[in-house]
Amino acid sequence: MIGQLFVIELLKIKRSLVVVMTLVCPLAVVALMFLMTLKAWDPPEMSGRDMAMFWSAVMSMWAVFMLPLYVALTTSLVNGNEHRNQTWRLMLSLPIGVGELYTAKALVAIALMLCAHVILLMATVLALWALGLFGYDLAGAFDLRSSRVLWAAPVAALPVLAIQHGLSWHFRTLVPPLSVAVIATFVGLQVGSSRHWLWMPWSYPMVSTTATTVEAQVLAVWLSPVMGVALFLFGLRLLRRREIV
């Protein structure tokens, strides 16, 4: 049933803003870094080794700012579909469980986040190729020290996704979940560079990609799925306690 609901939730977002955002958010990050590179450095100033930093710059921008906000927006739009169109009753008077619907929506949000991340990776490759056309040295640009930088951010964003999903499910308007996202992203930015980052899930994507120690990066990556599942189950438990309509 979850599989059917997943397909249905995908159908519901057809021709909607969430699809546009999945394309626009990662492209905006790559375009910004591309333009900054063009503006800040002339081709002779950059070695191929420096160009490998382009990856880290894109991933940092994505993990620190855009990903937490994108996750908040996605979960808000996926749940807002029901709030806006007053379709909770319509869906829940069909033979499905509330928990199944909650799970299917979370899975759609995860799928969208992964899509956005893949788009980000593809756009980064394209941007590097375009920089090569402008005369930048690309030898070593794909020689990454660790492949973790390519996949850590979406994994580390799972706790944020679980929290934002719960908030978007419960609140009828986009305002509370988006406000929480904006404030928490900036708090996460501050806390992420301190030793208290463990207590702030919004800092996990940042720590997983930009922490100065590998241990912290690995811890953020391993801790996030566990924390994400725990928060999701907590949300599910709260859900069963109250009547939705």
Binding site: M1, Q4, L5, V7, I8, L11, K12, K14, R15, S16, N81, N85, Q86, T87, R89, L90, M91, L92, S93, L94, P95, I96, G97, E243, I244, V245
Partner: protein, 305 residues
């Protein structure tokens, strides 16, 4: 005949506000059951309990012979619901929207065509819902409820927002469905005219409990009839009939009205008037409509309070 819906001694409160009090409601199978009541008296709450969207604080809620709390999914698989405003996803087409229900009820895609045909939206199946009128949305919501030939249809004010033609279509559909599709229809309404034309049974909800529950046929037979006479001298006719022991009175149109009268007594009344030389232009045996009856009852209750 079994019961499609059986509610016994149901209580439901929201915070300190007690919405339903010892509610008893029995809906016979294959009936078109109208659920009446003023706004705020608990109609929607009752419907939400029946549809498994809320749980009762006390009492039993049996739908299609099963406890909705314990077997919600099995009951909902055999039910179609239209609860409050017609809601849909405006970015989807009618076909895509109905595919949600067919997928979840594990039905073939041909079912979508069948229900769209039934509500007259087959031609618009590829049109996006955002371009639909309110009436079309209402019909689409009804089509959604009809997916899978449900044994029980629960409809909350199904003709809300429809134009007279649309109302007529839905009424026709509702009154013919139980025979065509072997299902029970339970609908709430505040349009008594609609109830009289569509329903076979009705219940009136008042401050959270059912005040009256009956078949429409029994109810209309039990309604007191009035003999209404158009005569040349109404005041004299009233005096004559009063003297003969009939509770005659003048109504607002200057006609003589004698309530609660039988066919035999009507003959005596005519004879008395004609013997006294009163000219009788017209004599009509009238029963009040459900609407008049409901209004009178509501007014009487208001006076009593």
């Amino acid at each position: 005949m079994g019961l499609a819906i059986d509610l016994r001694e149901v209580d439901k409160s929201f915070g300190h506000h007690r919405v339903l009090r010892q509610l008893d409601l029995q809906v016979p199978e294959r009936s078109v059951f109208a659920f009446l009541g003023n706004n705020g008296h608990g109609k929607s709450t009752t419907i939400r309990l029946i549809a498994g969207l809320a749980t009762a604080d006390a009492g039993h809620v049996q739908v299609l012979g099963r406890d909705i709390r314990l077997e919600r999914r099995a009951v909902l698989a055999q039910m179609g619901c239209l609860i409050e405003a017609p809601s849909a996803y405006p970015n989807l087409t009618a076909y895509e929207f109905l595919s949600i229900a067919t997928r979840l009820k594990r039905l073939p895609d041909s079912e979508i065509g069948r229900v769209l045909e039934l509500v007259g939206l087959h031609v618009d199946r590829r049109q996006r819902i955002e371009h639909f009128s309110l009436g079309m949305k209402q019909r689409l919501a009804l089509a959604h409820a009809l997916v899978g030939k449900p044994r029980l249809l629960v409809l909350d004010e199904p003709t809300n927002g429809l134009d007279p033609d649309g109302m007529q279509d839905i009424r026709r559909l509702l009154s013919t469905l139980p025979e065509r599709a072997d299902c029970t229809i339970f609908f709430s309404s505040h349009l008594l005219d609609e109830v009289e034309k569509t329903a076979t049974h009705m219940a009136v909800l008042h401050h959270g409990s059912v005040r009256l529950q009956a078949s429409i046929r029994d109810l209309t037979q039990a309604l007191p009839s009035v003999l209404s006479l158009d005569v040349d001298v109404p005041e004299r006719a009233v005096a004559l009939l009063y003297a003969c022991g009939h509770a005659a009175e003048l109504d607002g149109d200057g006609r003589v009205a004698i309530p609660g009268i039988t066919r035999q007594v009507a003959g005596q009344v005519h004879r008395v008037l004609m013997d006294a030389g009163v000219t009788l232009f017209e004599s009509v045996h009238r029963k009040p409509s459900l609407e008049q009856w409901f209004l009178q009852t509501a007014v009487a209750e208001g006076d009593a309070r």
